[in-house]
Structure formats: C-alpha cells, structure tokens
C-alpha cells in the first residue's frame, strides 16, 4: 500500500479525526431538527438544543418582520449547520480510515525494521 505520511502525522490524524467525529456528530445532533426524538431519548442533547450554539447562526444579524419568520430562519440555519457538521464528520471518518491504515502500515514497517 501507498505510504503517504510518517508515524507521527498519522497518529495526529487519527486523534484529530476521532475527536472530530465525536464532536461534529454531537453538533449534528444538536443542530438537527429531525432527530429531536433521539435527543429526547438522550436527555442532555435536548437541553443543549442549540441555544449555546445560537450565536453560531448567521441569521442572528439579519432583520425580520415577524417572529415566525425569525424562527423559521433560525430553524433553517440550524438545519444547514447540521448538514455541514454531518459532512465534516463524514470527511473525518474518511480521514480516520486513511490515518488508521497509515498508522498500521507505519507500525508494521517499524516492526519489520
């Protein structure tokens, strides 16, 4: 197999991607409207429910006529963030696989040597 990075870099990638998957998946759950039932199940996530991350929304600075409009925009913003985090988490799963393979390769090489 192709060897792209050394043992340190692959370990680094391994850690960052594991961390990223956990945290970004959690962010996805926190942001996503569709998994509310799951959130209720998990208890904490229901309460975390986005308020702490409210300032992450880009709609916070826009103007709205009615409150319904604002809530709709906020929900849509949450949903967008959820998608983004989900994509990033998927990218990290990919990174994790590559790093794991590289790490395995490196450790085997060092054993051979």
């Amino acid at each position: 197999m192709l060897k792209i990075c050394g043992p340190k870099l692959s370990l680094c990638g391994l850690i960052i991607s594991a961390w990223g998957i956990v945290q970004l998946e959690l962010s996805y759950i926190v942001f996503n409207e569709d998994v509310v039932s799951f959130q209720v199940l998990m208890g904490i996530f229901y309460f975390v429910r986005s308020v702490g991350l409210a300032e992450d929304l880009s709609v916070m600075e826009e103007n709205f006529e009615t409150m319904e409009e604002f809530y709709a925009a906020a929900d849509s913003g949450y949903q967008q963030n959820a998608y983004n985090c989900w994509i990033a988490a998927c990218l990290y799963i990919f990174t994790l696989l590559i790093s794991a393979q590289q790490f395995y390769q490196n450790s085997r090489n060092s054993l051979d040597a």
Binding site: A54, M60, A74
Partner: protein, 84 residues
Amino acid sequence: MGASLIPVIIFTLLWGVVGIVLPFIVPKGPNRGIFQLVLILTASTCWLFWLCCYMAQMNPLIGPKLSNRTLLLMSREWGGAIPQ
C-alpha cells in the same frame, strides 16, 4: 431563601456516602489508609465546591443580560412565555 431541598439533599447525600460511608468499607490492605484519605478529601472538596456554586445562585442579585434574539431562541427551547 431560594434553595430547594431536593438537590441539596441529593448532593450532600452523594458526597456524604463517598466521604463518610465508603471509607468504612474500603477493603483491608496496605493502602487502606491512603484510600480512605482520598475518599474523604475528594468528598469534602467536591462538596464544598458544589455548595459554593449552589449558594452563589440561591439569591441572584443580578440577572443575565441577553441579546433579544438569543432570548427568543432560549425561550422557545427551554420554555418561557413568548409574547404573541
């Protein structure tokens, strides 16, 4: 007094068990003493810290200043009266 009995009892009991009951049931052995000390100190420090946090919020003299937008979202998520 803005304290409610349940959390105070629960947390005091929790740390009480750790700091007072558990030290008695530590298995005998050369490290028993240090185990007991660790348990007692853990319980007392953690309980003290928790108590300070709790007391500091029993009678809040100032309230949080929030942006209206955040407040609207909080109000929807955590419950509160939303003006119609």
